[in-house]
């Protein structure tokens, strides 16, 4: 056939800029670390800082991994942070005010998470409403429920066992980091190596095609929403362990950082796609920046500025590199084609002369 004449052409951007794109945030991370190490010396570059960075805010990593799942299937879960707050409240309230065993409390909180995902699913999948609206509404509703359970700050010794398994340390790193790491690896495996992960991907990019390929789109989307809420509830339980307390509204502010990390995670490793490793690294990259700035003595406002700027710039640079890659590739391809063209022209001539 005429159209198969050219040999396989490597269409992906290789070379330096391809490498930069693939590892952009990691490179930025190294640079940030280097800058802090130079400017603040020992103050930053020690085991303690590592412990800080991998510590408390790991709950954001869990939340980021949670919202990433429905995002991959094309659905926003804006209720995740509110689910997290509620789970935090349930865990602490039951164990402290109601004398329920802390593990049982945590289990109940996680079951509540499952239920929330289920309800989100009813509206999104069964009734067919835009998930952004549904989860926003459900989130607001959950905020009310949390406040209704208690408007007090709750804490108590009953949480100790949970605290132990969260903030205990090994090699100066809190256990919670390893849970996040494991969760990330599990999700990575799921998205890379299992057919359910692939199905989620197909749904996210083409619902109709997935449906006509025998994927139960609605079931999978529903499952993703449930997974998101369940993991968010897990994040809330972990947060109970990390802080040993609960308060209405405690985790609502984590939604933005979680989404930020997920989107930042799409700019490298597998550019253009949601991926657990990218999201995971992004959480800790942003955390490194914030901790470092704080250690250098910057006020808290610098955190927001850094967070916002890092997110926008990283995504922008990634987009620009992509554009540049395409241009560079163009040039290469043109050269390759030129040679072929010459050959073609000769052939054409012979065709013409024969007609």
């Amino acid at each position: 056939m005429a159209d198969n004449r050219s040999a396989k052409v490597n269409m992906r951007g290789g070379g330096v800029s391809g490498f930069i794109q693939k590892y952009s945030v990691i490179i930025a991370w190294v640079i940030v670390i280097a800058v802090f190490a130079v400017t603040s010396g020992d103050l930053f570059f020690n085991w303690n800082t590592l412990s800080l960075i991998t510590g408390t805010r790991s709950v954001v990593a869990i939340l980021a991994l949670a919202v990433m799942i429905p995002l991959t299937a094309g659905d926003y879960d804006m209720s995740a942070a509110y689910t997290m707050t509620l789970a935090n409240m349930i865990t602490v309230y039951l164990s402290i005010e109601k004398g329920v065993n802390v593990w049982l409390s945590a289990l109940i909180a996680i079951i509540a998470g499952v239920a929330i995902g289920f309800v989100n699913g009813i509206f999104v999948v069964k009734i067919g409403i835009d998930p952004f609206i549904v989860t926003m509404g459900v989130g607001t509703f959950l905020a009310g429920i949390t406040l209704w359970i208690s408007n007090k700050t709750l804490s108590g010794t009953e949480l100790a066992p949970l605290q132990n398994i969260c903030i205990g340390k090994i090699f100066n790193i809190q256990y919670i980091f390893f849970y996040c790491l494991i969760l990330m690896l599990v999700l990575w495996y799921m998205f890379e190596r299992t057919s359910i992960g692939k199905k989620i991907l197909f749904i996210g990019h083409g619902k109709e095609v997935a449906r006509l390929s025998g994927v139960k789109v609605n079931k999978v989307r529903w499952g993703c929403l449930i997974a998101s809420s369940t993991l968010s509830a897990l994040a809330g339980v972990m947060y109970s362990g990390v802080t040993g307390s609960a308060k209405s509204g405690s985790c609502n502010d984590f939604l933005m950082p979680a989404f930020a990390a997920v989107f930042l995670g799409t700019t490298f490793i597998k550019p253009g796609r949601f991926n657990p490793l990218g999201a995971f690294i992004s959480v800790y990259f942003l955390e490194t920046g914030i901790r470092g700035l704080s250690l250098l003595g910057f006020s808290t406002y610098i955190q927001n500025i850094f967070y916002g700027a890092a997110l926008v710039l990283a995504v922008a640079i990634s987009a620009l590199i992509k554009k540049k890659n395409i241009k560079a590739d163009k040039a290469k391809k043109m050269e390759a084609l030129e040679a072929e063209n010459d050959r073609d022209k000769k052939e054409q001539k012979s065709v013409k002369s024969s007609t």
């Binding site: 412990s51 990390v242 308060k247 250690l295 006020s299 808290t300």
Partner: protein, 367 residues
């Protein structure tokens, strides 16, 4: 920009005059602190207000009390008690539930005159300047607007019919005294503050002055985290500080609600810093019980409620107003059991005695 959250001020360098105090004075501090170990007593002799017949004078009045935010149980409880006391005296008092948004306070004030309130109590809310137009409107309509539990005695706010101060400055001194007594005059101290709160200034001054006076060699750093950011930043900011200053001896949490984040920060960094705090919120009392907080200065909500009603009745009746006392108790592992209810749980209003209640009621001619 005028913000510098980590304004490291080695207290005393500015006030060299008082830097010569010797360690002999430190034992004086111990004695001062010891006075707060037991049940607080209302000092009837020192109270300047006259007695009056509240029942008759207040008949038919209608008050509105607006907590800074209902989601803070501390505010909410005081307001609830104010209404309870109003019931005892015999006039109407409504409580406006809100979530601390400016427009909710505004709505409350806007409706005050139309709904026939004669007095609005703004309980530990935003500073009255932020509600200036609405307060002015109320006052023009003859409604008295009173702020309470908002500022130190020495601070002034406007526009307002009257402002009931509290002993924030003294409280801050007591917290500092504890640190100096227990960690010496070269203590390394972190103070966690929220500068958007009006009374913070009073407390910051109290701390700075006390350290300048008794422990000029101490290092005192302030970290500012706005209350709205506590959830996302308080713990990490404290962790960062402790990580950069591993030899910190004490953390002063001027509002004990922040200890929700400070306690885990101390744990996660493995710091040996001890915590002292002010307010007496039940969960913080719990921390005293578990040893996470070394000393907690508690204030009696019931006293505050009575004092507020007293102050505001005097305002409403155009009587001369007086400085209302702040009754405090120092909670430590030694006496914390007295703060628990029968179930061994912490609860507001336990462990402060009834002296204020009795004193006020007799002043008002109720008993």
């Amino acid at each position: 920009g005028d913000s510098s959250s980590s304004s490291s001020s080695t207290a005393g360098s500015s006030e060299a005059g008082s830097a010569a105090e010797s360690s002999a004075d430190v034992s004086e501090l111990q004695a001062k602190l010891d006075a707060y170990k037991g049940l607080p007593e209302f000092d009837t002799a020192a109270f300047e207000g006259e007695a009056f017949d509240a029942k008759t004078a207040m008949a038919g009045k209608k008050w509105l009390t607006i907590p800074g935010t209902s989601s803070n149980p501390f505010n909410q409880t005081i307001c609830e008690q104010i209404c309870e006391i109003a019931g005892k005296v015999g006039f109407i008092c409504d409580l406006l539930d809100n979530q601390g948004a400016a427009e909710e306070h505004i709505a409350g004030l806007n409706s005050a005159s139309q709904k026939g309130y004669s007095l609005v109590d703004l309980q530990a809310g935003p500073t009255p300047e932020t509600l200036g137009a609405q307060i002015q409107e109320c006052m023009d309509a003859g409604v008295k607007v009173v702020t309470s539990h908002l500022t130190g005695y020495e601070q002034e706010v406007s526009p307002i019919s009257a402002n009931m101060g509290a002993g924030y400055y003294d409280v801050a001194q007591l917290l500092s005294d504890w640190v100096i007594v227990n960690a010496g005059t070269d203590a390394k101290v972190l103070v966690v503050v929220s500068e958007e709160i009006t009374s913070t200034l009073s407390m910051e001054n109290g701390i700075k002055d006390e350290f300048a006076k008794y422990a000029p060699d101490a290092s005192v750093d302030f970290v500012n985290v706005a209350i709205v950011d506590w959830g996302s930043k308080c713990q990490s900011e404290t962790e960062n500080y402790l990580s950069a200053h591993p030899d910190t001896d004490y953390i002063i949490s001027i509002y004990d609600s922040a200890t929700q984040y400070i306690v885990p920060a101390v744990k996660s960094t493995g710091s040996s810093a001890k915590i002292v705090a002010y307010n007496g919120t039940p969960f913080a009392v719990d921390y005293v019980k578990t040893g996470d907080i070394e000393m907690l200065l508690g204030e009696d909500l019931q006293t505050i409620a009575y004092a507020t009603v007293d102050f505001e009745m005097r305002t409403a009746l155009d009587m001369p107003i007086v400085e209302e006392p702040t009754l405090l108790r120092m909670w430590t592992s030694e006496n914390v059991d007295e703060a628990l209810n029968a179930d061994g749980k912490c609860e507001y209003g336990i462990g402060y005695g009834d002296s204020a209640k009795l004193a006020y009621e007799s002043l008002w001619g109720l008993s």
